[in-house]
């Protein structure tokens, strides 16, 4: 099983993601933004950082890089893709995930451990979790305020596309537990078929207890289990 981590100019969590997959014990390669070659990866990770300097809007320029053409095709064919932080921003800009990530409500960069609640565990990236599990995972962003129109939020709820919501340490969805003003405390979503997910928190930074938490590892363990069980999405 091979993970491919995309490096854009300005990515700064690509090595963290690479290292997390090494900790997981699976094969991992870097994918360069100017190449269109996914190098036979089974899971694509779009890492955090500031691709193209966050010029115009976070993720807006990265969307048009050669590697993204291949990633978009891969995703449409049912391939597994996870976008973390800036990677999430790239996925919403690409139209692979719904919504938009706006400036944090308090306008500050937020860098700290937060808690998220697992809303759904029939997704490749959460099948090792239980619904209601509270994960301690760090965030580090200024543009993580998830926004969508109310009608579209209702569609997300109906299709069960909300994967994670910010909460307090006991799993309660509170305003105090919401670090950036995201609508309905949304921290992560998936596409309708569930093979593409995006989240603002950084699971790759929480994969060993020495880092403060190993809760992030559950996502990578989940997708590994999913893949090794040989479950395949139907091709679109």
């Amino acid at each position: 099983m091979r993970f491919g981590v995309v490096t854009f100019p300005g990515s700064n969590c690509d090595y963290d993601a690479y290292s997390a997959i090494k900790t997981l014990g699976e094969d991992v390669v870097f994918l360069w933004h100017q190449s269109a070659d996914l190098m036979n990866s089974d899971v694509i990770i779009l890492p955090g950082g500031f691709s193209y300097g966050d010029y115009l809007r976070s993720g807006a320029i990265a969307r048009f890089s050669p590697i993204m053409k291949s990633v978009i095709k891969f995703a449409h064919e049912g391939g597994l893709v996870i976008g973390i932080c800036n990677g999430f921003q790239v996925l919403v800009e690409s139209g692979l995930l719904p919504g938009a990530l706006m400036r944090n409500e308090h306008l500050r960069f937020a860098c700290k451990y937060i808690y998220i609640r697992v809303e759904k565990n029939d997704n490749p990236f959460t099948l090792d979790c239980a619904v209601g599990d509270v994960l301690k995972i760090p965030i580090a962003h200024k543009d993580g305020n998830y926004y969508n129109f109310q009608a579209d939020i209702e569609i997300l709820k109906k299709n069960q596309q909300i994967l994670f919501r910010y909460c307090d340490k006991d799993g309660r969805i509170t305003e105090a537990g919401n670090p950036n003003g995201s609508i309905d405390n949304i921290a992560g979503v998936c596409n309708e078929s569930g093979n593409v997910i995006g989240m603002m928190p950084h699971p790759e930074r929480a994969v060993e207890d020495i880092l403060g938490s190993s809760d992030g590892m559950k996502l990578f363990e989940s997708v590994k289990k999913f893949y090794k069980q040989g479950v395949k999405f139907e091709r679109a």
Partner: protein, 81 residues
């Protein structure tokens, strides 16, 4: 013929604008009471050349795909000689 396309990007109505709110608060703190709301946006100048209809079509496309995020933003284009 060379001309300029002036692109204005605005947030759609109903989309929260934390920057605008903060700017409006600063205006109040400065002691001015005439401003009740601020909405922030972006502005681009593009130098363009070629056949009018084709150019305008391209600019519309560029706005939709790149300059604006149609989920939260709307745009208007003006042309200057």
């Amino acid at each position: 013929m060379n001309k300029k396309a002036i692109v204005y990007i605005r947030l759609k109505d109903g989309v929260l604008d934390p920057q605008g709110i903060t700017i409006q608060r600063a205006i109040l703190n400065m002691g001015y009471d005439a401003v009740s709301s601020v909405r922030s946006g972006k502005f681009f100048e593009l130098e363009v050349s070629g056949d009018g209809g084709k150019v305008e079509e391209q600019i519309q496309d560029i706005c939709r795909k790149l300059l604006a995020n149609p989920v939260i933003e709307k745009f208007t284009v003006e042309y200057e000689k």
